[in-house]
């Protein structure tokens, strides 16, 4: 990166953080610190909810996923619009009427203290781990490509987030997210324009689309009923519905965003904004990844996108074998480029039999290229057990660093870090709030002043920030990063959602029954995940269904004569 890139990067990230702190320098008591004085408008809520969900992982992993597997991942979000409608109808009016700070307060009011603690505890475990991954993801990718010190990158990015989140609370988080999201959207459109601009002159956008389709990268919807396929219309609609219901309805990092709204309408409209724009946005990000794939059909891509890993292999006994594979790859992708260019021409001409022959040749060469890449990954695995043999998270950023002009590289790296910071800020804000409201205020101290609670909230937020940075420092790259976060969420969210749905809709069930059911279902889900091959989205549905069914059965049998529990 050049000096100009560093100026753009630091100016963007530090500028937004400082502006957020300045705007919230006079935030008042606990209500202001944790709920932004209920003053946030729907537009800011909408962008804040979007920025919370869209972490750096979204912008690193998603294009890489499309590069490898095409557009099918967008189906993951198909349940989201219906989940948000459900939340607008049932959850938001209740949360706002009860004037709760956290969603788990509702569990306490509806059931009892232990159920509230369990819900809050599951959230803290799941979100605490995810916060570490959120910081780690961009740091590992960008530091390895730019030669930065990984630990220093993690600490600097984490510290910047902690400073403005601790300083300004919920309002600072929402205000900074508005500008971070603006930078992210501008950056992604710029990247897309640059990819299209970098295609060969004789390959039009329409030809690029046709080539991507011919290479099976544009299958957006898949109506297969195979439960082992990760992304289908049905798993996205039903599994995604439960994942989104739990994420937007019960995860404090999202609930806190819309509870800060100036009215029920502001909260609802901010969320519904996401119900409309999220799927097109994900489609666009995946589409950017597919266009990177098309771009690399005409340019020679690296045989493996994580250069740092290749450098390590080159120091081992497998170096010569790697060089051979790289030479073979260069030869295959060279032939592939010629075949794809011919395919693009033939697609323009429209002769079906000629197109079929060209496509067959291009696809065969693509298969050969994939086979070489598979050999490279196998060799990397042999060269070192600690070496990560997946490179999809490095695809998009490699393109940015190699093909974008000075200044824009800084902007796009800022996009990645802005996304990481916006998500982390929400997570830390929510972790601090939940620990404060659901544990500290109830267990440790009662009847203190507002200023005391604000101070403790700041300390807790900072402590969670420190813990997230610690996790990030000791994390290892796990499969595809965005999937790691979604898998982690899917294992916990179903049970939490089940507790809330029982609270809302099954009047006869009391706290002890739902508490025991939630623990049994959580253990069951963890065992199933470790023993069965089921698409992870289904665990949202399984966990939720188990809690609802078990709690009803237990209430009707074992706890039938149980008295009314203590409300919290």
């Amino acid at each position: 990166m050049s000096t100009l890139d560093y100026v753009v990067l630091l100016g963007t990230l530090v500028g937004i953080a400082v502006y957020g702190m300045w705007r919230t320098r006079s935030s008042g008591g606990l209500q202001g610190y944790l709920k932004g004085d209920d003053s946030i408008k729907w537009g800011t809520i909408g962008l804040s909810v979007m920025a919370t969900q869209a972490s750096a992982i979204t912008f690193l992993s998603t294009p890489g996923k499309a590069y490898d597997d095409g557009m099918g991942f967008v189906q993951n979000y198909f349940g989201m619009p219906f989940a948000i409608i459900f939340i607008c109808v049932f959850f938001i009016p209740i949360y706002r009427r009860l004037n709760v700070y956290t969603s788990y307060e509702y569990l306490g009011q509806r059931f009892d203290s232990k159920t509230r603690y369990l819900g809050a505890f599951l959230f803290l475990v799941q979100r605490g781990l995810a916060a570490g991954i959120t910081i780690y993801a961009p740091a590992i990718v960008i530091s390895s490509l730019l030669g930065w010190n990984l630990d220093l990158t993690i600490v600097l990015v984490g510290a910047l987030v902690v400073i403005y989140t601790v300083s300004g609370g919920t309002k600072a988080v929402s205000i900074t997210q508005r500008y971070q999201m603006g930078i992210i959207l501008i950056g992604m459109f710029v990247a897309f324009a640059m990819i299209i601009g970098n295609l060969p002159e004789d390959v039009s956008f329409a030809s690029a689309l046709s080539v991507a389709g011919a290479m099976d990268k544009l299958e957006v919807v898949n109506f297969s009923f195979d439960i082992e396929e990760r992304y289908t219309f049905w798993s996205g609609l039903f599994g995604g519905l439960f994942l989104s219901l739990s994420y937007f309805g019960t995860d404090q990092s999202q609930v806190q965003r819309y509870l800060a709204g100036s009215s029920v309408s502001a909260s609802r409209f901010g969320l519904l904004f996401n119900a409309v724009v999220k799927i097109p946005m994900q489609f666009f990000i995946l589409f950017v990844g597919v266009m990177v794939f098309v771009f690399y059909l005409f340019e020679e891509p690296p045989v493996f996108f994580n250069q740092a890993t290749l450098d390590v292999v080159s120091e081992t006994e497998y170096a010569a074998e790697m060089v051979t594979l790289q030479e073979r790859y260069a030869s295959v992708v060279g032939e592939r480029a010629v075949a794809v260019r011919q395919l693009a021409l033939d697609l323009g001409a429209g002769d079906e039999s000629v197109i079929a022959a060209s496509k067959e040749r291009a696809v065969a060469l693509e298969s050969q290229a994939l086979a070489v890449r598979a050999d490279v990954k196998e060799l990397i695995g042999k060269a070192g057990e600690d070496l990560e043999a997946k490179d999809s998270d490095y695809v998009f950023i490699t393109f940015i660093l190699n093909y974008l002009p000075e200044g824009l590289i800084g902007l796009l790296v800022a996009v990645i870090f802005a996304a990481a910071m916006s998500s982390t800020a929400s997570e830390l804000n929510a972790l601090g709030s939940t620990t404060m409201v659901d544990f500290y205020r109830r267990i440790a101290k009662g009847g203190q002043t507002d200023a005391h609670y604000v101070l403790v909230s700041r300390i807790l937020t900072a402590a969670w920030g420190g813990l997230a940075i610690f996790f990030a420092l000791y994390a290892n790259l796990v499969e595809n990063l965005i999937e790691a976060v979604n898998i982690l969420g899917s294992l916990f969210y179903g049970g939490i959602l089940g507790m809330f749905l029982v609270a809302f809709f099954v009047k006869s069930v009391r706290g002890t029954a739902v508490f025991v059911s939630a623990i049994i279902s959580q253990l069951t889900v963890l065992i199933m995940y470790n023993t069965l091959e089921i698409g992870y989205l289904w665990y949202n549905l399984i966990g939720c269904g188990l809690v609802m069914m078990l709690s009803y059965i237990l209430q009707m049998t074992v706890f039938r004569n149980g008295g009314k529990e203590e409300q919290a």
């Binding site: 706002r96 009427r97 509806r110 609270a503 809709f505």
Partner: protein, 46 residues
């Protein structure tokens, strides 16, 4: 809905389309249109 949830309903107007019910229908129909568009897109380029 449980008793705790039925205490009081806040009257409020949707900022567009006249009622929240219509806003929800709009979101649902928008999704259906999206899926149809994705399906046609998939078919066209497969």
């Amino acid at each position: 809905m449980t008793e705790l949830d039925k205490k009081k309903q806040e009257p409020e107007n949707a900022p567009v389309f006249g009622s929240w019910r219509r806003v929800y229908w709009f979101v649902a129909l928008f999704f259906v249109v999206e899926v149809i568009a994705f399906y046609l897109f998939t078919q066209y380029y497969s």
